[in-house]
């Protein structure tokens, strides 16, 4: 039975059917189709939740193997494993509104995420330090534009001079907007063509197959 669903033509048919079921009610108000499209969305939500269980199993198995084999970084994997099951157990026993359940999420996980986001600034500085070198004429122009834009962005500049803001507006409204729109047009057309290729089975990787 599973081999039947591994057949490329069966998969493409299912993909095309689901595509039609979602796209047709978007353009035409057909009550029955709307119901089916909504049901399809619910099925996707259920599948996502089920996939969470599979992911948790896969991750726990990997962590256990790493701890057992004492692989590089195994204490972190062990720590993660303990925390995941400890929080899940606390949530199941005491409920999601309980302090022992909320505290690790709000005090550790959320603050950890915020710290990690702020680290991006240091990555930007190190990337900038490597990139902002005037190796040729194009790089020199790029560097000058960047310096002018950054100068205009600084709040202090506004107090002393107005010309950097004018240059920033010119660069943004001409080169910046043009590049953004070219980018958007290219993406939109390529996205549609990729969609057609997928529906015709010309992107087999999407179905987990070799192309």
């Amino acid at each position: 039975m599973s081999s039947l669903f591994r057949r490329k033509d069966i998969m493409i048919t299912i993909v095309a059917f689901c595509f039609g079921l979602v796209i047709v009610p978007y353009f035409f108000d057909i009550k029955e189709l709307n119901t089916y499209a909504n049901n399809l969305s619910k099925i996707v939500a259920v599948v996502t939740t089920s996939a969470f269980v599979i992911s948790l199993y896969a991750q726990s198995r990997r962590n256990l193997i790493m701890v057992r084999q004492r692989s590089k970084g195994w204490p972190y994997q062990g720590f993660q494993l303990i925390i995941v099951f400890l929080i899940a157990a606390v949530g199941l026993i005491l409920g999601q509104a309980s302090l022992p359940y909320k505290w690790p999420i709000e005090a550790i996980q959320m603050s950890g995420s915020t710290v990690f986001y702020s680290i991006a600034t240091f990555y930007m500085i190190s990337a900038g330090a490597r990139a902002f070198r005037a190796r040729n004429t194009k790089a020199l122009l790029f560097l000058l534009s960047a310096v002018l834009v950054m100068l205009a962005q600084a709040p202090m500049t506004e107090l002393y001079m107005s010309w950097p803001a004018t240059i920033r507006a010119f660069l943004g409204d001409t080169f910046g907007k043009t590049a953004t729109r070219i980018f958007a047009i290219g993406l939109a057309i390529s996205g549609i063509v990729l969609g057609v290729r997928t529906l015709l089975g010309k992107e087999p990787a999407t179905l987990g197959l070799q192309g």
């Binding site: 996502t48 992911s55 948790l56 950890g112 930007m124 290219g186 993406l187 999407t206 070799q210 192309g211």
Partner: protein
């Protein structure tokens, strides 16, 4: 288009160097690390899965490992089984099924920055020879910079304009927007898929004509094109 003749294709350097990147990693005795994006199936994830399929097959040919960190969004749990299938079947297609290890495709977390922290940790521990960063957002720069710190060759996907600017500074090679979407067709070298890229060029040319005509008409106080596109 005449049958049997492939249309001219502009070279996409970021895709052309993938083979060299895999070879370089293998010579260095290091694995390849590739991610395919954090969200559920969107056009960029679909395109990145094609690249993953190609990379996994190249890695299988030279008996190397492909590490694929997965997560960053609840949607990534749906794409995971597909990605696992792709890499597994790539190794099997090369007759190296025994080399496939599902533990090399860890699901790190569905929380965005927890995933990012895990990804960076993976780069530092595994020290890959090449890192191919998929359509990631604010976290892409972190991966590329860490990969650079461990001496890996970096190929990144810039899928929105601000990301392209940042990755152009940090990565060795960048796939810019539509180049990433064309990856599957470009790497396959199949005529039927490559011709679809020419279709993109034709429609882009039409879009340019529409823009130019629209600008001229607006100068003549005629809003025909604007009204047409506002339908």
């Amino acid at each position: 288009m005449r049958r049997g003749k492939l249309p001219y294709l502009r070279r996409v350097l970021a895709l052309d160097v993938i083979e060299d990147a895999v070879g370089r990693s293998t010579e260095m005795g290091r694995p390849i690390l590739e991610s395919y994006g954090t969200v559920a199936f969107d056009q960029f994830v679909i395109a990145s899965l094609s690249t993953l399929s190609y990379v996994a097959r190249l890695a299988a040919k030279v008996d190397n490992r492909v590490i694929v960190p997965i997560g960053g969004n609840p949607g990534s749990m749906i794409t995971r089984p597909v990605a696992v299938d792709i890499v597994k079947s790539a190794y099997e297609a090369e007759g190296k099924g025994e080399l496939f290890n599902e533990n090399d495709m860890p699901f790190l977390s569905y929380e965005f920055f927890s995933f990012a922290a895990g990804y960076v940790g993976l780069i530092l521990r595994e020290r890959p020879g090449a890192v191919i960063v998929g359509p990631e957002t604010a976290d892409a720069l972190m991966y590329v910079e860490e990969a650079n710190a461990v001496g890996a060759l970096t190929i990144a996907t810039g899928y929105y304009i601000a990301n392209v600017a940042v990755l152009a500074c940090a990565a060795n090679y960048v796939m810019i927007g539509e180049e990433a979407l064309a990856a599957g067709a470009y790497l396959s070298k199949e005529q039927s898929r490559i011709t679809s890229l020419r279709t993109v060029d034709i429609f882009k040319f039409l879009a340019i004509v529409l823009v130019v005509v629209g600008v001229i008409l607006v100068q003549l106080k005629n809003n025909f094109i604007i009204d047409l596109l506002s339908i």
